[in-house]
């Protein structure tokens, strides 16, 4: 269980804004922080990681205080059980794939992680020689090697092409189903947020305006069906959304007017 209630000053496009994050996350939950650029999504991840210090407030993780301004407690990043995946990967260029993982945790099951992320054949390759998708997998494997309580993903798929993005989304789901690590993902892709998350937190100017399951957060912005036939006053629709389709008998339904 993670409880966050912190405030911090953000450099916004229209001057400084006072951000206030209040959020409770259940153990094992997958939360997407969704919002426009500059809304303060990444700042929240960085605060959780200890890379940014809030002006005030409290962060507790499994009853352990990570930050409490009134008690002057602020655990450094090294003491927080987190795995952080940066937008541009931040792999160590002088180390091979295996060495990047070993650096994170010598005791971890490195071979198992390499196999899970399909990196076994690239174990001795240096990051420069990897493609974007491969780099992202290494960054993810390295974050997992530390066996963190919380996985923090800062737009990890934004630099990838659609095919690679879809593949890595599947892998993220697979990893989350397998390891049940509480995960916070920063994204501004509706599709990605809907597909991956248990809940989506909408962030606007440093404030969480709404937090709920994806289907409630994105009800109108999404094309849920397309018209495949129209006869007289009868329209046949094909449902595009898997989550909605579950509640219907088939993948097609007819609406008569």
């Amino acid at each position: 269980m993670i409880d966050i209630d912190v405030h911090i000053e953000l450099d916004g496009a229209e001057g400084d804004i006072e951000a206030h994050y209040k959020l409770a996350i259940k153990k094992g939950e997958f939360i997407t922080l969704f919002g426009a650029s500059g809304a303060g999504k990444t700042t929240l991840l960085r605060i959780l990681a200890g890379l940014e210090t809030p002006k005030g407030g409290v962060i507790t993780v499994d009853n352990e205080i990570w930050f409490d301004s009134s008690k002057k407690i602020n655990l450094p990043p090294q003491k927080r059980s987190i795995g952080f995946v940066f937008q541009d990967y931040a792999l160590f260029p002088t180390m091979s794939v295996r060495e990047n993982l070993l650096y994170a945790n010598k005791q971890a099951d490195i071979d198992g992680l390499l196999a899970m992320m399909e990196l076994t054949s690239l174990a001795s390759t240096k990051p420069q020689a990897l493609s974007g998708g491969q780099k992202q997998r290494v960054a993810l494997a390295r974050a997992l090697a530390r066996e963190p309580k919380i996985l923090l993903l800062d737009e990890p798929l934004s630099a990838l092409d659609n095919a690679m993005r879809a593949k890595l989304q599947e892998e993220l789901t697979m990893i989350h189903d397998k390891l049940h690590i509480t995960t916070l993902l920063v994204s501004h892709d509706i599709d990605e947020a809907s597909r991956l998350s248990d809940r989506v937190a909408l962030i606007d100017s440093g404030v969480i305006t709404k937090i709920d399951i994806p289907n409630i957060i994105f009800p109108v912005n999404k094309t849920v069906a397309k018209i495949i036939a129209k006869e007289g006053n009868k329209i046949t629709l094909e449902l595009l959304d898997d989550d909605l389709a579950r509640f219907e008998i088939g993948s097609e339904m007819s609406i008569a007017f």
Binding site: G50, P77, Q78, G83, D88, P93, M95
Partner: protein
């Protein structure tokens, strides 16, 4: 080859080696400070480090000589503790370290400032201390800056003349290095010996630079492969 020639050459390279080693030890923290500190008066420190690039060596030598003399506060304090730096090898080391400081610091500082901040942050979020991050992640990444700095500092010390003449003089086996010897032999119209020193310096420094640049290029290619 006569003994005094060998003695002078050995002293020259001993001075350059000791200076480079000291610069390597103090240069990394200074370069890190200049690359990462957000201190308001950082420009003052940057200026001090860079001064030897533009200052006539005789100016630095003159002030060091004054500082080392027993008349000055520093010199008097040193003398009380039995240390005499003027016209000694140790004095030359101090002068050379100060004078070659920018040659070591600048390449390392420039390499350090090119490292994205999230490399440091990635290491911290993996539970690693600042020291471990520096030793395992950062220093390997600035290897080429370190090699360039060491080579430049070494070569610059070998070729140093003004500071050494001011604070070291020309004492065989103690402060008489090759560049001073060349000047001295020319003054005595002993051109053959001056040439022997000059050519030796030329060949040795050329070989060191060539070797390092070749190795550096190879390791650069290895990194990007």
């Amino acid at each position: 080859m006569d003994n005094s020639f060998i003695e002078t050459m050995v002293l020259t390279f001993k001075l350059a080696s000791v200076t480079t080693l000291i610069l390597l030890i103090i240069g990394i923290p200074i370069a890190s400070f200049l690359a990462f500190s957000k201190m308001r008066f950082k420009a003052i420190f940057e200026t001090i480090v860079s001064m030897p690039l533009v200052l006539p060596p005789s100016v630095l030598g003159f002030y060091l000589l004054i500082a080392f003399s027993p008349v000055s506060t520093i010199g008097a304090f040193l003398k009380e503790n039995g240390i005499n730096l003027a016209f000694s090898f140790e004095g030359l080391v101090i002068g050379s370290v100060l004078f070659s400081l920018p040659f070591m610091v600048h390449p390392v500082q420039s390499a350090l400032s090119q490292i994205p901040s999230n490399i440091f942050e990635a290491s911290y979020t993996l539970g690693k201390s600042k020291l471990k991050t520096m030793l395992r992640v950062v220093l390997p990444m600035v290897k080429h800056g370190l090699i360039s700095g060491m080579v430049l500092a070494f070569a610059h010390t070998v070729g140093e003349f003004g500071v050494i003449l001011m604070i070291g003089g020309n004492i065989p086996g103690e402060t008489r290095v090759a560049s001073i010897a060349i000047y001295d032999e020319v003054e005595s119209l002993n051109y053959a010996l001056a040439h022997q020193y000059a050519l030796s310096l030329f060949v040795v420094t050329f070989s060191i630079l060539l070797l390092v640049y070749t190795l550096n290029k190879k390791s650069l290619q290895g990194l990007s492969r």
